[in-house]
C-alpha cells in the first residue's frame, strides 16, 4: 500500500453535511484513501455513509470541510474528476423499457474512453442478457448492470454504495472477485456496506461511521484488535456468576447476565477461557451453549452500536434493513446548481 502523501486519491478533511431541515448527517469526519486501496465505510442506519459518498461523487457540495478526489474538488471541478471516476449508487436507475445493451450504449455515449459495451457486460456476466429489457431483470442482475456502467469508463476511482445488496451468495462472491481484480490492476475503490464479512474480506482499510462521526478506523485487524473477545455460556440451575472465581482475576473486562446466560468480555481470551473451563471442571459444572469468540469486526461494530444505544439511541444495531440513510425529505430539497 502506498501511503505517500501525493498518492492520496481521496482526501476527506473535517467533512460536514447539513440538510435543508437543519439535520446534520455528517459531523466532521476525516479519512483518506491511497491509490489502489479498497476502503470500506461501515455504519448503522443513518450513520452518514451515503451522505458522505454523495459528496465524494460530486453530487452535492460539502456543508463544511474539504473533500478532494484525485486532487480536485469533485463538485466545483466536476469536469476534471468525472471522466476518471465510476459510480454505483445504492439504488441504480435505468429506464425500464430499454434493453441491457441499449442502456449500456446510452451510458457509453456519456463516458470518455468507454470500453466496448460487450466487454463491460462481460465483466459482470450479463452478456447473455444483452437483449433483455431492464424491467425483466432480477434485483441482482440490475445491481450487476449498475456495476457494469460504473466500470464502462475504466475509472481510476470507483465508488460503490452497497454493491452487493440484493445479490445471492454466488453473485456476491463474483463481485468481490471483480473488486479484488480491479484493485490489483490499480483501481482505487471506496465502498459502503452493511455486510461485515464483506468489509473484513475486501477492505484494506475501513472506517466505521456512527451518527455522522468516525467511531473507529484502520485496517480490519486494527479495528478488531481494540475490541474484546467474548465468552458466553449458560450456568446450570443453582449456580450464579458469584460462584465463579473473581472475574477481574480471570482477565474479564466486562460481563452481562441474562437469566442463566453469562456473557464475558476479555482482552485475554486464552487466559479467561482457560480459567472458566478449569473452574467448571473442578466444580463439575456443565457449561451449556458454550461459545468462545475472538474479537471480530462484527463485535467491533456491535460494540459501537451498543455504546450508542446505551447513550440514548434506540436499536442502532439494525444492520439487516439498511435503507438509504439520510435519503429523507431533507435530501429531496437539493437543487440544480
Amino acid at each position: 500500500m502506498n501511503t505517500d502523501e501525493h498518492e492520496h486519491v481521496i482526501e476527506v478533511t473535517g467533512l460536514r453535511r447539513v440538510y435543508g431541515g437543519g439535520f446534520e448527517a455528517v459531523r466532521g469526519i476525516d479519512f483518506h484513501v491511497g491509490r489502489g486501496e479498497v476502503f470500506a465505510l461501515l455504519g448503522t442506519n443513518g450513520a452518514g455513509k451515503t451522505s458522505t459518498v454523495e459528496v465524494l461523487e460530486g453530487l452535492a457540495p460539502p456543508s463544511g470541510g474539504r473533500v478532494r478526489v484525485l486532487g480536485h474538488d469533485p463538485h466545483a471541478e466536476r469536469a476534471l474528476v468525472r471522466p476518471r471516476t465510476g459510480v454505483m449508487l445504492q439504488e441504480g436507475g435505468f429506464p425500464s423499457e430499454l434493453t441491457v445493451a441499449e442502456t449500456a450504449r446510452m451510458w457509453a455515449g456519456c463516458v470518455s474512453g468507454a470500453r466496448p459495451v460487450p466487454e463491460a457486460l462481460g465483466l459482470v456476466g450479463l452478456d447473455a442478457k444483452a437483449g433483455v429489457r431492464v424491467k425483466q431483470l432480477s434485483g441482482g442482475e440490475r445491481r450487476r448492470l449498475d456495476l457494469a456502467l460504473a466500470l464502462l469508463g475504466d475509472p481510476e476511482v470507483l465508488f460503490l454504495d452497497e454493491p452487493t445488496t440484493g445479490l445471492d451468495a454466488e453473485g456476491r462472491r463474483a463481485t468481490w472477485d471483480l473488486v479484488r481484480a480491479l484493485r490489483d490492476a490499480g483501481t482505487t475503490v471506496l465502498l459502503t456496506t452493511h455486510y461485515l464479512e464483506e468489509a473484513e474480506g475486501l477492505a484494506d482499510r475501513l472506517a466505521i461511521l456512527h451518527q455522522g462521526r468516525v467511531a473507529a478506523a484502520g485496517t480490519p485487524a486494527e479495528v478488531t484488535a481494540a475490541q474484546p473477545s467474548r465468552i458466553s455460556f449458560e450456568l446450570p440451575e443453582g449456580y450464579f456468576v458469584g460462584d465463579l472465581p473473581p472475574l477481574s482475576a480471570l482477565g474479564v473486562s466486562g460481563h452481562e447476565v441474562r437469566g442463566r446466560l453469562v456473557r464475558l468480555r476479555t482482552h485475554e481470551l486464552q487466559r479467561t477461557a482457560t480459567a472458566v473451563l478449569v473452574w467448571a471442571e473442578r466444580a463439575r459444572v456443565e457449561l451449556r451453549a458454550l461459545d468462545v469468540r475472538p474479537a471480530s469486526l462484527e463485535e467491533a461494530f456491535l460494540g459501537i452500536a451498543r455504546e450508542a444505544s446505551g447513550a440514548g439511541g434506540s436499536g442502532a444495531a439494525g444492520l439487516g434493513s439498511e435503507s438509504a440513510p439520510g435519503s429523507g425529505s431533507e435530501r429531496a430539497e437539493e437543487r440544480v446548481v
Binding site: G93, A108, G109, R115, P116, E119
Partner: protein, 272 residues
C-alpha cells in the same frame, strides 16, 4: 461473472471510445429517449396522435366564428391552433411525463453521477419530442395550406421564430411542471392548467382578436400568446415591428423565467 476476472485495466485508453463531448453525450441520451418514445404507447398517443386529431375536431367550431370582421379565415385560425396543439401536447405534456418518469425511476439521479451536465441531461431528454413536434408542426402547416387554402406566409421569419421560441418555452415549462408532478399518472392533472389556459386565452383556439380589447391585452402576456401571435402574424403579415418585438420580448421573458424555475425547483430524485 467469472473468477480470475480479466478487468482489462492494463489496456486503459487502448481500443476505447472517444472523449465524451457535450454533443456526443446529448446524442446518446436523445437516442435512448427516442427508443423509449417508440415504446411508450401512451406518450405516442398523446404527443403524436392528439395534435394531429384535435384540429379535425376544432374545425366545425372555428367555422362558426365571426372571423371576417377581424380579417381572419378558418385556415388562419386552424394553422396556428394546430401548431399550438403540437407544442402543448407534443412537447409540453409529453415532457412532463418523461421528466417525471425518469426521475421516479432514478434515471436522472444516476445520470448526474456521470459526465453529463444537468442541462445536457434535460436537453437530451427533450430532443426527441422537440424534433417530433417540429416535424409535426411543419406537416400540419402544410396540411392546412393545402386543405384550407391558406396562402403562403407573408413574413415566414416571424412564423419560424415563433415556432422555435414555442419549442424552447414548452420544453422548459414541461421541466418546471414535472417538478410539481409526483407520478406519471398525475401529469394528466398537473398539465391541465397551462393547456386549458393556453387553449382558451392564448389565442390557440379563440383568436385574441375576438376577445374584448382589455382582456386581449392581458391575455397577450400569457406564455403561449406571443408564440401564437408570431405564427399567425407570420402568415398574415399584419404584425408591426413594434408588435413583433413585443411578442418576442414576452416569449423570451417567459423562457428566462422558466429556465430560472427549472434551475431553482427541478427535482432530480423522488420525494420520499
Amino acid at each position: 461473472m467469472s473468477n480470475g476476472v480479466d478487468v482489462g485495466v492494463g489496456a486503459r485508453g487502448v481500443g476505447r471510445g472517444p472523449v465524451a463531448t457535450p454533443a456526443r453525450r446529448m446524442a446518446a441520451l436523445a437516442r435512448a429517449e427516442l427508443t423509449l418514445l417508440g415504446r411508450s404507447r401512451s406518450t405516442l398517443l398523446s404527443a403524436v396522435l392528439v395534435p394531429l386529431a384535435l384540429p379535425l375536431a376544432l374545425r366545425s367550431a372555428v367555422s362558426q366564428m365571426d372571423l371576417d370582421d377581424v380579417g381572419l379565415s378558418v385556415g388562419l385560425v386552424m394553422l396556428p391552433a394546430s401548431i399550438g396543439f403540437s407544442l402543448l401536447f407534443g412537447v409540453y405534456g409529453a415532457l412532463v411525463g418523461i421528466c417525471t418518469a425518469r426521475r421516479e425511476e432514478l434515471v436522472l439521479k444516476r445520470l448526474r453521477t456521470g459526465e453529463p451536465r444537468d442541462a445536457e441531461i434535460l436537453a437530451g431528454a427533450s430532443l426527441p419530442v422537440v424534433v417530433t413536434a417540429l416535424v409535426q408542426s411543419l406537416v400540419l402547416a402544410a396540411a392546412c395550406t393545402v386543405v384550407l387554402d391558406v396562402p403562403a406566409p407573408e413574413a415566414p421569419h416571424l412564423a419560424v421564430l415563433g415556432l422555435l421560441l414555442g419549442l424552447v418555452l414548452c420544453a422548459a415549462l414541461g421541466a418546471v411542471t414535472a417538478a410539481v408532478t409526483r407520478t406519471v399518472e398525475s401529469a394528466q392533472v398537473t398539465t391541465l392548467p397551462l393547456v386549458l389556459l393556453s387553449m382558451t386565452l392564448s389565442g390557440v383556439t379563440v383568436p385574441l382578436e375576438l376577445l374584448p380589447d382589455r382582456l386581449a391585452s392581458v391575455c397577450a402576456l400569457l406564455p403561449l400568446s406571443p408564440v401564437i401571435t408570431l405564427v399567425r402574424g407570420g402568415w398574415t403579415g399584419d404584425l408591426s415591428a413594434y408588435e413583433a418585438l413585443g411578442a418576442v420580448a414576452t416569449a423570451l421573458a417567459w423562457i428566462v423565467l422558466a429556465v430560472f424555475a427549472v434551475r431553482r425547483w427541478f427535482r432530480w430524485e423522488p420525494r420520499r
